[in-house]
């Protein structure tokens, strides 16, 4: 049998009056289930079951006054060690103060740690670097305090692509590069970000792609004014490529031949657009 004494229901209250019982002898109660409404000098308070068990005795009937600390309910408790005291030994506090055998170590944890810092970079730039396959830990950040900027990542991407695709061009001896002096050219503008990437991409494309231009005349007198000329033009080019597959051939720079491989099974067309900040694929939008 476990006895539950009336706890102090309001920090320093001496007694409480039973208003009504919610449980009867023989009832099974669960933890926190309201057992009885008690009226104190402050308020009517629902007293919950401190543990699960079967009610074996009720000490009082509605209207009776019970002193704080006096027996209130007896239980056949499920587990004897659930029978925590009702708070009296812990002070006059309402509620139950948890206690364990835990012993807190007194050893302090040092704040010092080995040097070595991860690259500092905006999350969005880190994301771009990841998508482009650029290892930012290898970059020296050009931003304030060594922060790796978007420009750093884009530049690294271009150089990496360039180096992989055309090692000869990168490693070409300086005698093969065009010599120029400021007296001939005037003040040189240093290219940044997208324009620098664009210049490097164009150099790469010149080195790896065989350029070929076909001019021809077509009579478009029959096209109605205001129509979608671009779409019609693309359809016409598609028809032309179908008629002459060589127009849709490509040159494999890596294998150095044959000069014209068999026609590509699908038609491919590129677009080009210019904006103030640079030029590029119109599908990607303005930089």
């Amino acid at each position: 049998m476990t006895r539950f004494n009336l706890p102090d229901l309001g920090e320093g209250l001496q007694e409480a009056e039973i208003v009504r019982w919610h449980v009867a002898v023989g009832d099974r109660v669960e933890v926190d289930q309201p057992m009885v409404a008690m009226e104190t000098a402050k308020a009517v308070v629902e007293v919950p079951a401190p543990f699960a068990g079967i009610v074996s005795a009720l000490h009082g009937k509605p209207g009776d006054t019970i002193a704080t600390g006096a027996p209130l309910v007896d239980f056949q408790s499920d587990a004897a060690n659930d029978a925590a005291d009702s708070g009296i030994a812990q002070g006059g506090v309402v509620g139950h103060m948890p206690e364990t055998d835990e012993l807190i170590a007194t050893d302090a944890v040092g704040n010092a740690r080995a040097a070595g810092r991860r690259a500092r970079v905006l999350p969005a730039v880190r994301d771009v670097a990841q998508k482009l396959g650029v290892d930012i830990s290898a970059l020296r950040g050009s931003g304030a305090g060594g922060v790796v900027t978007l420009d750093d990542v884009l530049a690294a991407r271009t150089v990496a692509t360039y180096a992989a695709a055309a090692p000869m061009a990168v490693n070409a001896p300086s005698s093969m590069r065009p010599a120029m002096s400021l007296t001939e050219t005037g003040e040189l503008e240093v290219l940044r970000s997208l324009r620098r990437a664009m210049a490097q991409s164009m150099t790469l494309s010149r080195d790896s792609v065989m350029e070929c231009t076909v001019f021809d005349d077509a009579d478009i007198e029959g096209w109605l004014p205001g129509g979608d000329y671009t779409g019609r033009l693309l359809r016409a080019i598609s028809e032309g490529c179908r008629a002459e597959p060589g127009l849709n051939a490509w040159f494999d720079g890596a294998s150095q031949g044959p000069p014209a491989v068999p026609a590509h099974p699908r038609g491919h067309r590129g677009g080009y657009a210019r904006w103030p900040a640079g030029a590029g694929d119109p599908r990607r939008g303005q930089p």
């Binding site: 920090e11 812990q90 006059g92 506090v93 509620g95 948890p98 807190i104 007194t106 040092g110 740690r113």
Partner: protein, 325 residues
């Protein structure tokens, strides 16, 4: 070296302060004859007399005003508010006067008051007994807010708070009052008031918490070891001012931050920490900063308490998600 609970360490620090300094006075509801509803002031009135350890009427506004007046006249007051939810009537005295006394008198007067109070829920108490209202205090310039999570920290910080010339709000985690013990040397040595503590070193994610939630936070870090997730755990300890440098240094190492607090999420202290990391540590982040907090609702009564207070499982889930981000 005595082995003490947190509430016993508070008692030791109060006794030490009363013995060391004749200007120290302890006041509050039931702190004298009764010894405090949590036994924090047990035996002090018997030992130091009714002038040094005074019972007050049940009136928090009076406790605030009385503390202010005594402090302005040179006493060092340690007042107790029985539960943090009862603090509101005293807020006028604290925010409008105690916090400003130094400013208002251009440094001529300071306000050496410590207001101790149980903080947070988890003891199956009724309404108004489980509040975590630290942000109400942290928002006011001129107040220090301290929240220890171990007996040793409570002892050293309470002594520091009593010796500090300015008002200190001393939040004692109710749930931890008797939960664990620690070996404590009652040597009168104070701890620094404005420092966070790294209580566990790790590499993958930084967990910041304070007060009673340190209990679940440390358990979560322990559980995550099994998943090869290495957590660094910081006990904020000083809620105002916040030791932002300690957090930023840790985040620079781990790249991830999860803040755990029992107070409601909306405008909680976690938001202030997250904002500061966004301002000063964004470049170090590998994942969005996350908060595990109480819900934006009234703190529920005993039966639903466990659903409200962040559990170990909730912390573990958020840490896992942070590592996948």
């Amino acid at each position: 070296m005595p082995r003490v609970t947190l509430v016993e360490s508070v008692n030791l620090a109060l006794a030490r302060a009363l013995a060391d300094d004749a200007d120290v006075v302890v006041i509050g509801e039931d702190v004298g004859l009764n010894g405090g509803v949590f036994r924090a002031t047990a035996g002090l009135q018997q030992r130091f007399g009714k002038l040094r350890v005074q019972d007050t009427p049940l009136a928090e506004g009076l406790i605030g005003g009385m503390s202010l007046g005594m402090a302005a006249q040179g006493l060092k007051v340690v007042a107790e508010i029985q539960f943090m939810g009862f603090l509101y009537p005293a807020l006028d005295q604290i925010a409008n006067h105690m916090a400003r006394l130094r400013h208002r008198t251009r440094g001529r007067l300071t306000c050496p008051v410590v207001i101790r109070m149980p903080h947070g829920g988890g003891i199956h108490a009724p309404e108004h007994h489980s509040e975590s209202l630290e942000v109400l205090l942290c928002h006011h310039a001129g107040l220090r807010v301290v929240c220890p999570s171990t007996p040793a920290a409570a002892y050293g910080l309470l002594l520091a708070a009593i010796r500090d010339p300015d008002p200190v709000l001393f939040l004692e985690p109710t749930r931890l009052y008797r939960l664990a013990k620690q070996d404590l040397l009652d040597d009168g040595v104070a701890l620094p008031l404005d420092k966070a503590q790294v209580v566990r070193q790790g590499d993958d994610v930084t967990l910041v918490s304070w007060g009673a939630m340190m209990h679940e936070t440390k358990q979560a870090a322990e559980r995550l070891v099994q998943e090869k997730i290495s957590c660094e755990v910081i006990d904020l300890t000083s809620l105002s001012p916040i030791d932002h440098d300690a957090i930023l240094e840790s985040v620079a190492h781990t790249g991830r931050l999860v803040i755990v607090h029992e107070a409601a999420r909306n405008a909680g202290l976690g938001a202030e920490i997250a904002a500061t990391v966004a301002e000063r540590g964004l470049y170090d982040l590998l994942a969005p900063v996350q908060r595990v907090a109480g819900y934006d609702t009234v703190m529920p009564y005993f039966a639903m308490e466990r659903a409200y207070i962040p559990s170990v499982a909730r912390i573990v889930d958020v840490v896992r998600a942070t590592l996948k981000a």
